[in-house]
């Protein structure tokens, strides 16, 4: 699992780095050309601002999207964003909002990338570009906030469910408890540790032990 995730992240990362290199070089090319006209230190840049906005609008979204992908195994939310779920609106409202936010950010990014140009831009379009650029940051901030909030809430709910279940089990009679592993204290874990539990189960499965099945006791 982890090994496969490492390899997937590496391959996906390299495919993300390629456009990032292209976009970075576009911005640096513009800066290098206009740097010859610069006469004093730490001046504001008006000539490559449009290029910077256009390039960064795509770049940072690639970085953010890759960040979400790299941590997806931990968040365990990859399967919830399927095309079918999105189309049929078969997902909670918060997730629908997340998808809408991502869609809007992608549209703004493509628009900014398309209208980029070197040289000074008119004030009106510069203002619009600045607004769109920071709007992308804001949208992604909302997305991450929502993702973290959902994960925290889910962990909290799982913990509460686990606690309730443990309480119920402790109320069971001795013979029933015996069925769940000869009175050994059962460990309940949160959903974030489910991977580890699965691993343990797999190991048990390999050995052919059937002690988990109460029918064979």
């Amino acid at each position: 699992m982890r090994r496969e995730h490492c390899h997937s992240v590496m391959v996906a990362g390299i495919s993300q780095l390629i456009p990032v290199i292209f976009l970075t070089s576009e911005h640096w090319g513009c800066l290098t050309r206009f740097s010859e006209d610069v006469t004093e230190n730490f001046v504001k840049d008006e000539n490559c601002r449009s290029v910077e906005y256009g390039v960064n609008a795509i770049q940072m979204q690639l970085a953010f999207a890759f960040g979400v992908y790299a941590t997806s195994s931990t968040l365990m939310r990859g399967d919830e964003y399927s095309a079918r779920n999105i189309t049929t609106l078969n997902m909670p409202r918060r997730q629908l909002c997340e998808v809408s936010i991502l869609g809007l950010a992608a549209l703004l990014g493509i628009l900014l990338f398309g209208i980029r140009q070197e040289g000074e831009t008119p004030r009106a379009s510069r203002v619009w570009q600045t607004i769109c650029y920071y709007a992308i940051y804001l949208l992604w901030f909302f997305f991450f906030a929502s993702v973290i909030f959902t994960s925290v809430t889910r962990d909290e709910t799982n913990r509460m469910t686990d606690a309730t279940l443990e309480e119920k089990i402790s109320d069971l009679s001795g013979s029933t408890l015996h069925m769940f592993g000869k009175g050994k204290k059962t460990q309940f874990r949160s959903s974030s540790e489910a991977g580890a539990l699965e691993g343990d189960d797999e190991k048990l499965g390999v050995g052919g032990t059937m002690s988990l099945n109460p029918g064979f006791m």
């Binding site: 982890r2 976009l23 576009e26 504001k44 941590t71 931990t74 079918r84 992608a106 398309g114 209208i115």
Partner: protein, 796 residues
Amino acid sequence: MELQETTNTPARPPLRPAVSVKLVPLERCSYLWVFLLQLLIVATAVVAFSYFLGEDEHKLTMVYMTTTLTPFMLLAMGSIVSLCPKDTWVRLSSFILCELIFLCRSFIYFGMKNYPGAIGNLMFFGVYYLIYRAMEKLAACLPAKLNNDNESLNKFNCQTIPLTTTGSLMSMLYCASESFSCLLDEENHNDVENCADKINSNEGMLWFLTLSAFAKLYIIPHLEVQYSVADLLRFDLKNSREAVLVLLTAVVGLYTIFVYASSEKLHENFDHRTNTTTTKVVIMDGNETALRNTITKIVPFMIGLVPLVLNLSKNMIPRFRVMTRTTLRARIAPIYRWILELVALTITSLNVYYVFLVYTSTNIEQEVNKIEKWRILCWATNPLIWVVVTLHFFGTPTAQKRKENVMFFLFSMFFVLQTLGNFFQAKIDTERGETRLNSVFVNGFLALMVIPIYLMVNSSRKMLAKHHIDDIDAHLQRCLSLAISIVPPIIFLFAEPQSCVAYANNYKIEQCALLRESNYVVGGHLSYAFLFYVTFGYKLDSMTKGGLLSLQDMRFHTVCQLICLIISSTTCFIVYGMRNSELYAERVFNDESIGKLDEFLTSSSPFSMVADCWAVTLFTQLLHSRRMETEAKFHRRSVDDQKHSKMIHRFTSWVDQRTKKIIEKFHVNDDEARVATPIRVILFLMSISSGVLSLFVVCFSSQLGIQQIYRISHGMGSLRVFSVVSTFIFLFTHLSDTLVADKVIFLSMVVVFGADSYFEYKRRSAWEANIVFGVLASIAMLGILKLKKTTMKGTI
């Protein structure tokens, strides 16, 4: 005991009830999507009708905006009909609005006294009704076509339609934003007609993207057979109508790319930076504009032909289908061979004409310029001829190769003709004489290099022919897929600088050098990659992703190839990113110095770097293949003394052994969830690069030049993203342990944001915002480090 015996008895599998898939009710979701799509149609209508209300000076802008938005409207309409085959009112209301827009467009053109445009839109008003009826019919009969299989219908409704619409919308938005960018440009604010060609060319691409979406929604699902790459390889299509349709779509696609890439402004203003004057240069005069207009208007006409072909008889030219396809395996269809031969012949004819032109011309400036334009055009076809000749040579690996040899002869003729042309041009073109003489030597060398290249591909072809027919067929299928995916970019790269060169009457051809050379580098990279894959691709099957990342599949030649591939690809992407610059054109126009960067980019150095890398890649692979072949002979013949007779094989064998020993030290065991250390070292350096660089600038700002500080301080934003992506890769490619390096990277990121705030403070900008952003980013980074710890608890 009894219980055990019972368990050992094979159990009878329980009878499962047949699983019935329910049709996903689309009412709830479709209304939302339809609402959004209708919003798009309404937006187009608002822009179109505002023509009648707006001021006179903005009317043309409204016309161009409507032109750009019309394909979006049609895409929305197509998706609506597909989404709501049962909801007549929704479809009809959208349809009526679309028809009104066409009527409005017709009035607009009539008002502008553009009568062909007005008649064309009026005609489309009627044609659109037919298209709408056809769409309705096709959408209604789709369930029957899919045998009322709910699973397939769900897949079409919930995946195919939304993904097609969204994907097309994204690509179209990029095309449209280029048009909007031209309209918003201050230079064109009071002269939007300057963008006419750009808008028309982009419109062509928008129509083509709409056509692709329509094909996915209305043509492909209704085909009698769903084709695979194997069918395409043999061009084994169900009937001659489909064969014509595929060919026509391919031609339309390539033509659209050509027109889209070669769009130009009608005139350009070049600022003189020293005496602050501006020169207005006419790029296209009246005749050229009219010709270009005709070229761009052919695109919608050709696109319109595609649905018309659908109305023709299925077996309209039965002989055509028989002639173009093959039933044999392990070979490409005759139609591809004809196309490849035609392209090679055309390229050779262009070169012959170039030599003829240069041989018969005199030393007049206009003629010299014309010859230079022809030379550039012919030389730019170089990446294409590599692809064409390679694919043709490997097209029939098990058959005789007379035609293939002729094609290789044409390939060598390309360089011979270039040598001759450059030689004659050097005599008459005094200004470019020295450069042309250099080209004579380069082309002569390349003409000689065709011989070893032929020997290499020939030996590889023989080796491929010895493989099983299934392997050959699979390799050819992969080659065809690769060719289909790289030919459009090569055409784009070829066409983009050609318009700049072709219209260079009132400005210098050298102004196009940056774009031309950069595109040539990328085109060359793609064609060499294709050559490598076609020649040796069938030997790369044994390599796996896991094996490469844990260095278990690494040999000496693989290491060389990976290094060369990284250098070559990085060079290409850097060059491609820097290829467009109005400042460069202005400097050349005003005879100012162009700067070191542009000097480097317009020189032959980037291309040499890419070509050398691919030469090493091909050479190492060839040596390895030959050595492996000899070693295989040892095994087959059970030779006791397994020593290579050739010195080069003995040497490479020794190097391979040594490399293997070194690499073994970095092998990753199967119980470790990480990639190999050398790869991670590179990732670590990439991750901390922006931190180190910004720290360096902060510490040594007094010793750095003004230009260096300007570049680094402003470029840190883009470089930071590069480091962030590298950081993510670094963190999540070692899930076995927490490392000190993780914390170093975290510190590096903090340094970057700190330095950025320092730069903003120095520029008297809003540095506080940067601090806030840095703090947020640092918190996010700490969260990610925590997430990594959680991930490490998972199974290996």
